[in-house]
Symmetry: C3
Subunit: 160 residues, 3 copies
């Protein structure tokens, strides 16, 4: 991949990542599965788990339908009542680009704001993505959310 290819790709990826973050931060969860391809993998894991080679994570879904189901349960459980998120994401780094398939890594920091106003660093880590990027748009084929800390809230329910 030439520098020039990267320079065209990165703005598209960056806008996509920012919109993904917005969707979660603005509690527009219903839009969230739309960032993924029909056939997709969404996984949340920790750096230690990944290094140890554990295949599954804290959250695992392997189709867009499962993501829709997840949103439905979150709405029924009223998870969003008590908290909000704020994502700040780094610039996507293109690891490989091969035709329409792109592998990219993007750092993130998520701050959680509780109903009473308490604000705390909630999670940091890296999105390790495989994306389909073509004239129709950008879609996640696989998103592995690798959290830096192994102390992620086991009640973790909101998507990252």
């Amino acid at each position: 991949m030439t520098d020039n290819d990267r320079s065209m790709l990165i703005p598209r990826l960056a806008a996509f990542m920012e919109d993904y973050a917005r969707c979660l931060d603005k509690d527009e969860l219903e839009r969230w599965p739309g960032f993924f391809a029909e056939q997709c993998i969404y996984k949340v894991t920790t750096y230690d788990n990944m290094s140890a080679g554990y295949p599954f994570g804290l959250i695992y879904a392997d189709s867009r339908g499962m993501l829709h189901d997840r949103v439905k349960s979150l709405r029924e459980a009223n998870i969003y009542e008590g908290q909000r998120y704020r994502h700040i994401i780094g610039q996507p780094f293109v690891v490989q680009a091969d035709g329409t398939e792109v592998r990219a890594e993007t750092s993130f920091i998520v701050v959680r704001i509780m109903r009473n106003g308490e604000t705390a660093l909630f999670a940091t880590g890296s999105y390790r993505d495989t994306l389909k990027v073509d004239s129709e748009g950008v879609a996640l084929v696989e998103r592995v959310v690798v959290c830096d800390s192994s102390r992620i809230d086991t009640l973790l329910a909101l998507p990252l």
Copy 2:
């Protein structure tokens, strides 16, 4: 607005937002009103206040002159003596672009560094902006700073 329009706009907006943050972080307050159009609105509010439909916020100014006055009072009160800010901002997301008028939203995290070296997460939120973008440059026609937490320091004096 086509993807192509966005891709030209975003770099200009991003450089503008970064310079705005630099101006505050480097204590170059006197430059701050210059980011706004002569006729402008600057408002700091919270997500809860905004959702409840309260029109005014913690800070409200409706002209560039009022921003100049604000800087003058801050300097007289020596507010900056005891603290510094560090903004990290996300990539601007273009909500609408209509001729020279652009609406954009940009996430931010602000860390406050006290004179004794204490460093703490101070505020997170989103800039909701209306900007004039033309060949002369970029200017804020309206900036609504929506803080995620309702527990914003009531003595909040520095611009965000």
Copy 3:
């Protein structure tokens, strides 16, 4: 420098900065000296020290060889065993561009993740860089890491 020059420069600088951060966050320390020119200055200091005009900082190196030596000692001391970093960096702001020499400033936040999972804001500040940008690539001729807080861990050993 025209707006157009900046718009071509910034994406290249941003990708470079992101890769630098990745190198540290992924514990690929051996790649770190490669971001610098052979003849280079790397300095970590604090805002207060810099304002007071102290020429040296917490860390000082004036050649790429010294950076290699530093990596070697860090590996021998197993510094990375107990901790990981996560950098989130702002968009580079081009202060001056003169032929192939570019001066830029870039804000950063670094979060430190300890082995036990504890996550805390470690440092904030600004990279004040002089870079050589030409057809061969981007290289740091001078990087002064200005930390906002003077309370930086005196055992600070990992590069920022």
